[in-house]
């Protein structure tokens, strides 16, 4: 009988999500994976090809920046799911609720009384000197009481299988549409395996998101006019913007569709102006309002920040959140949890050196070949040095950058990201590839909710640790399993 897993061998010193050892799936996942195991390479390849064809036909694509032709690519999907056992997921879920709650408190605090700075828990200059700290926001208390309505918290797993927080995304985290799309795809292409696994549902996300957005409106939730604000169809995440608008049943608007009058936000329609109460903005705050941020910018909605400050519109996420996902602030999140919630952090995070501090900077400069250095205000895998894989020339160049603007850099040990079996078309077999996980957390007036699972991104090139779609990353469906008590729910 055919055995697709016969030669699959996890990497040394690395946690494999699915396999305990060579050809042996972990016990809770063995049963659903039996269905996959029985495929011949030809059969499996046919399923993978079908999946890619379905994505292309459905137009599930992202736009490639710097391509004048407006080229669109599919975000590659690998069909082997990433499965998370029920008990593991429960813990992650509690840890995420705790973390996002603390980040929300932190933002409320630093834009008001700044207690945490006064008590010296976090160095004042680190917060107030952050490029994403917006002094215009100080004193504004957003309607609905929340600032991190939609959070995307990136998790990785170390060699012992421990979940660690790698970074927080509390501005405009993206990727949730791929979670829902991957699920539809896997249900169509691998229905037998899916059925046997008892996976928690994800398709309630759009209605949960809509309820969250309505709950923080300046008017009664039922009367709230919610819109999704996109920079436009050439944005790389446009598919997701339109997907969310469509699945929530709310209008997708561009900045030019909105205007502000009397500190209220209005939509231009064929029957004249209509009032807007909640803006789920998928547009960087630097381009949100030219009267506040970039007078030279033609983008944005003039006056929308005043309307927000006046409490006439809710912006999701709140402007000014960037300071909370600044990588130089990240080392202090466990302290925030203790300070605001009086609890010990449930989720660990990666030990981090802050180059703003002279002694830590010295250590970083002396160990560049062992560390991963990241710019504090960049994302998407840009502005980073992977020390162990770098050349001497790259390290030298980076050392100069660190010395020039130390506040901009932090360093971490490279964590041996966990792996997951991934189909390698050129080899016609499964090989371990490194993955991370981005769960999505919604916070509204009624509490905090975590989408079961999240987006698993996979670094497709052999030996790669970079999972970003712009740099050769793909994705997988993530199966958070139901606990024993949840059977049949």
């Amino acid at each position: 009988m055919s055995d697709l897993f016969r030669d699959y061998t996890p990497l040394p010193d690395t946690w494999d999500e699915m396999f305990a050892e060579r050809a042996q799936p972990r016990a809770p996942f063995a049963d659903p994976l039996e269905v996959v195991r029985a495929h011949t390479p030809d059969e499996y390849e046919a399923r993978q090809a079908l999946a890619e064809q379905l994505l292309l036909e459905a137009g599930v694509t992202f736009s490639v920046y710097g391509d004048a032709q407006g080229t669109e690519k599919i975000f590659p999907v690998d069909l082997i799911p990433r499965i998370i056992a029920a008990a593991d997921w429960d813990r992650v879920e509690r840890g995420l609720v705790q973390r996002v709650t603390a980040l929300d408190h932190f933002l409320d605090d630093i834009y008001a009384d700044q207690r945490i700075l006064a008590e010296g828990v976090i160095p004042r200059e680190l917060v107030l000197g952050a490029s994403q700290y917006l002094k215009e926001v100080r004193g504004v208390k957003p309607v609905g009481g929340r600032r991190v309505h939609i959070g995307g918290i990136d998790l990785i797993r170390d060699g012992d299988g421990r979940f660690l927080v790698l970074e927080d995304n509390v501005r405009t985290p993206s990727g949730v549409s791929y979670v829902l799309q991957n699920r539809l795809l896997v249900k169509r292409v691998l229905p037998e395996a899916f059925k046997r696994a008892h996976v928690r549902q994800v398709d309630q996300y759009p209605s949960r998101l809509a309820a969250t957005l309505r709950s923080v409106a300046p008017v009664a939730a039922d009367d709230a006019m919610v819109v999704v604000l996109t920079p436009g169809m050439y944005n790389s995440a446009y598919f997701e913007h339109s997907f969310l608008a469509r699945t929530m049943g709310v209008p997708l608007v561009e900045p030019g569709d909105l205007f502000v009058d009397d500190d209220k936000v209005w939509l231009k329609t064929t029957r004249g102006p209509e009032r807007v109460h909640v803006v789920y903005r998928r547009i960087d705050e630097a381009f949100l309002d030219p009267t506040v941020f970039r007078p030279d910018s033609l983008l944005g909605v003039s006056g929308i920040m005043r309307a927000w400050a006046a409490g006439n519109v809710t912006l999701c996420n709140a402007p000014g959140n960037g300071v909370a996902d600044d990588k130089a602030i990240y080392p202090f999140v466990p302290d925030m949890i203790r300070f605001y919630l009086g609890e010990e952090p449930i989720l660990d995070q990666v030990p981090t050196w802050t180059c703003a501090r002279p002694d830590e900077r010295q250590f970083v400069l002396e160990h560049l070949d062992e560390l991963v250095v990241k710019a504090v205000d960049e994302a998407g895998g840009y502005g980073m040095l992977m020390g162990p894989q770098s050349t001497a020339a790259q390290r030298e160049a980076f050392a100069e950058r660190i010395k020039a603007t130390p506040r901009r850099y932090i360093a971490q040990r490279r964590v041996e990201l966990s792996t997951c079996p991934t189909w390698i078309g050129d080899e016609r077999r499964l090989e371990p590839r490194r993955v991370d996980l981005r769960p999505f957390v919604l916070s509204g007036a009624d509490g905090v909710w975590v989408l079961p699972g999240g987006l698993t991104r996979v670094a497709l090139p052999r030996g790669s640790y970079v999972v970003n779609s712009s740099q050769g990353g793909g994705s997988k469906d993530t199966w958070a399993l139901r606990g024993a008590t949840e059977e049949g729910r």
Binding site: L56, E57, V228, P251, L267, K268, T270
Partner: protein, 326 residues
């Protein structure tokens, strides 16, 4: 929400126009390439009208010279694949997909998938092979997928203003397209008809015109096979119950615009466009069939083409730019 976002309304309208334009063009190329197989006509007599109806006489003459219209393969390639003309099927379907993508959240999943699949297919090797080996199937595939889309629009979308704007675009394009096709072909065929006594050749010309408008069987049902130029022209212009006749398309377009912008709602934008469409509809309703014989036909069709173009301009000014000056 009561109104439709003005920018979305414009995308809807153009989506409808491009869908209709592509379908009409695929149909015309399909019919003409079939006719070319067994007709007694000179190739130029067959293909030049196709170039003219597509509005490409000037650019085509500049690039190839009008005598090249005798090269049916060149004309088909130009109107199917050419990247430099906005009216080739490849470009028109690109415009369809571009507008659809801009309103992904407004159109139904079914509509999007059909349009996107067609767009992907047009860029595939399979489409090239079909074009080379089975020309009729190639055009028929495009025509059928677009017919499917129009059905899906009605069958799977909420019947709100977004759909009204899409169908308004389809109908106004249809009225203009039928009028242009009829004008060009009627003129060309009347000249040819004068040169031949053969009733079979004469009949075949009118059959081709009817086919190019998907009107052959409906016409036969009404006229019981009496094929005369004037009757065909009258049918395509004034038939009350045929969806592609000019009168029918304008009547329905008027109804759609009334729903979008009720006549009594004086405070709403769009009053001028509505008044002009109302006038065109009334004019067509009252048109005396006897007055559209011979030279009167050309005058009537020119009026329709000019009025529909002007109504489209007014829609742009009054509805799609609504609120822009605020």
């Amino acid at each position: 929400m009561n109104g439709l976002i003005s920018r979305i309304a414009e995308h809807c309208f153009w989506l409808g126009r491009y869908i209709e334009r592509a379908e009409s063009s695929a149909r015309m190329l399909m019919v003409t390439s079939q006719l070319a197989l067994d007709t007694a006509l000179e190739p130029a007599e067959l293909w030049l009208p196709v170039v003219i109806v597509s509005g490409e006489q000037g650019p085509f003459e500049e690039r190839f010279g009008l005598d090249q219209a005798a090269d049916g393969e060149l004309v088909q390639h130009y109107l199917t694949w050419d990247a430099d003309t906005l009216v080739s099927l490849k470009q028109t379907l690109g415009a369809v997909r571009w507008n659809a993508r801009a309103i992904r959240d407004v159109i139904s999943l079914e509509v999007w998938e059909t349009l996107n699949e067609l767009h992907v297919w047009m860029g595939s090797a399979a489409a090239r092979t079909t074009y080379e080996k089975r020309r009729y199937d190639f055009y028929r595939h495009i025509k059928r997928q677009l017919e499917l889309v129009v059905g899906q629009l009605r069958g799977t979308m909420l019947h709100d203003d977004a759909l009204e704007f899409i169908l308004l675009g389809v109908l106004l394009e249809q009225a203009g397209q039928t009028a242009r096709t009829l004008d060009v072909h009627h003129h060309a065929m009347s000249l040819l008809e004068a040169q031949t006594e053969d009733p079979l050749v004469r009949a075949m010309l009118w059959v081709a015109l009817l086919r190019a408008c998907s009107a052959l069987e409906p016409f036969n049902k009404r006229r019981r096979g009496a094929l005369q130029g004037d009757l065909v022209a009258r049918f395509l212009l004034l038939e009350r119950d045929f969806p592609r006749s000019v009168r029918y398309a304008v009547r329905l377009a008027h109804r759609r615009l009334v729903r979008i912008r009720p006549p009594a709602a004086d405070a709403l934008p769009g009053g001028q466009a509505l008044a002009q469409l109302h006038a065109l509809n009334t004019w067509l309703e009252d048109l005396d069939p006897a007055s559209v014989a011979g030279a009167g036909l050309h005058a009537a069709l020119t009026h329709v083409v000019e009025e529909t173009a002007s109504i489209c301009t007014l829609l742009g000014r009054e509805l799609f730019a609504a609120g822009a000056e605020q």
